[in-house]
């Protein structure tokens, strides 16, 4: 449990390790997009961590980066194809950011720093911890941005949507744009770091 908890606060990939910031800024305009992106990233992280943990000792150091990239790109493409076929609305909404998971630093970072040096069980746990931390971070950014920037909370479009009185008529548009995303990330980063320090004490 401690390993999983570390991904949430102490080693949160977005707010503490500052990994995967590009998709965090790009797809955090709605909670629905953040949940979809988190799911896709988690599946890729889980698959690549397992595969790299199993393959690492058979891959010479000199070719480990291209080998890891091939493994990661395979899982990203599998997830992309599956989402296009069975979750088309979400796939369309996330667009290019699904294929771009290939270059998400969290995936290659965890492959390099953890999965390649640890057994499968620990690598699965690491994927769960980091996937959960990424999801919490991304959803937190999206929640603030969607409430302030659009005056709504969209969990499942058309089914589970809430309007925020006052803000839905007059949203603070800057939060819908990248500048607003950076402001939100800054404040949440401070909050998560403070929470990490408090829980450590």
């Amino acid at each position: 449990m401690r390993d999983i908890f570390k991904g949430l606060l102490k080693e949160n990939p977005i707010f503490v390790l500052a990994l995967g910031l590009c998709p965090s800024l790009a797809v955090s305009t709605s909670v629905n997009n953040a949940l979809g992106m988190s799911l896709a990233t988690f599946l890729v992280l889980l698959g690549s961590n397992i595969a790299i943990s199993l393959l690492a000792r058979h891959i010479p150091d000199e070719i480990h980066i291209p080998a890891y990239i091939v493994v990661i790109a395979t899982f990203v493409t599998l997830v992309d194809m599956s989402m296009q076929a069975w979750l088309p609305a979400l796939s369309q909404s996330l667009g290019i950011f699904i294929p771009l998971i290939v270059v998400n630093c969290i995936i290659l970072g965890r492959a390099e720093a953890f999965a390649s040096k640890n057994p499968v069980g620990a690598s699965i746990l690491d994927a769960v911890a980091m996937g959960l931390g990424f999801a919490v971070g991304l959803v937190a950014i999206a929640l603030v941005r969607e409430i302030l920037g659009a005056g709504s909370i969209t969990i499942v479009p058309g089914i589970l949507e809430f309007a925020v009185p006052g803000l839905s008529e007059k949203p603070v548009l800057v939060f819908a744009f990248p500048a607003g995303a950076l402001i939100v990330v800054g404040f949440l980063q401070a909050l998560f770091r403070w929470l990490g320090e408090v829980t450590e004490k």
């Binding site: 091939v70 599998l78 194809m81 076929a85 667009g95 290019i96």
Partner: protein, 179 residues
């Protein structure tokens, strides 16, 4: 076996397994994706035709126009137009009267940015073009949009791509007339 060959073989083996996995997945997903695309196009054609039965499709009738469908007996056309947005190629389908006036339009395939260019997928986005193309020119600049300029805020490149494609479609229809 020398060291270089060993590394090449290991990398090749990983690539081969990856290709096999992707090919296997493709056999399951490809028919589902193709069916979805066909359904999406049919549904767009139904909306765009405004109750008139579209005729037989014709491939590449003019540069920048991938397909066209005649509407009724010379009542107009539905065109599948090639456009270029911020994220690369886009597909726009639009219906025109025989005089080139836009009846309706939809953004289909695209790689536009979520929260910005992607907003053009909302059917109401295309209302800014409806009714233009004959007496009123198709708006190709934000200034021409007047009060509707807010609709395209943050996604000017997407708007420019779509508007250029629709304007080209309108021009082509005017040249074809009701034929």
């Amino acid at each position: 076996m020398n060291e270089m060959t060993d590394k090449a073989l290991r990398l090749g083996a990983i690539g081969a397994v990856a290709a096999l996995l992707l090919a296997l997945m493709n056999t399951f997903t490809e028919p589902v994706i193709a069916e979805q695309k066909a359904q999406k196009l049919n549904s767009a054609l139904t909306v765009l035709s405004g109750g008139i039965q579209p005729g037989r499709e014709e491939m590449a009738p003019a540069p920048g126009i991938a397909r066209r469908w005649p509407l009724g007996a010379g009542e107009g056309w539905i065109l599948e137009l090639d456009a270029v947005g911020y994220g690369g190629p886009m597909t726009v389908v639009a219906s025109f009267t025989s005089k080139g006036e836009v009846m309706a339009a939809r953004l289909m395939a695209n790689s536009e940015t979520v929260g910005f260019g992607k907003n053009a997928e909302d059917p109401t986005y295309m209302d800014i073009f409806v009714g233009s193309g004959q007496s009123v020119p198709v708006p190709v600049t934000k200034t021409a949009l007047g009060d509707d300029a807010d609709v395209v805020a943050g996604a000017t490149v997407t708007f420019s791509g779509i508007s250029a494609a629709i304007a080209a479609g309108s021009k082509a229809v005017q040249e074809w007339g009701g034929q």
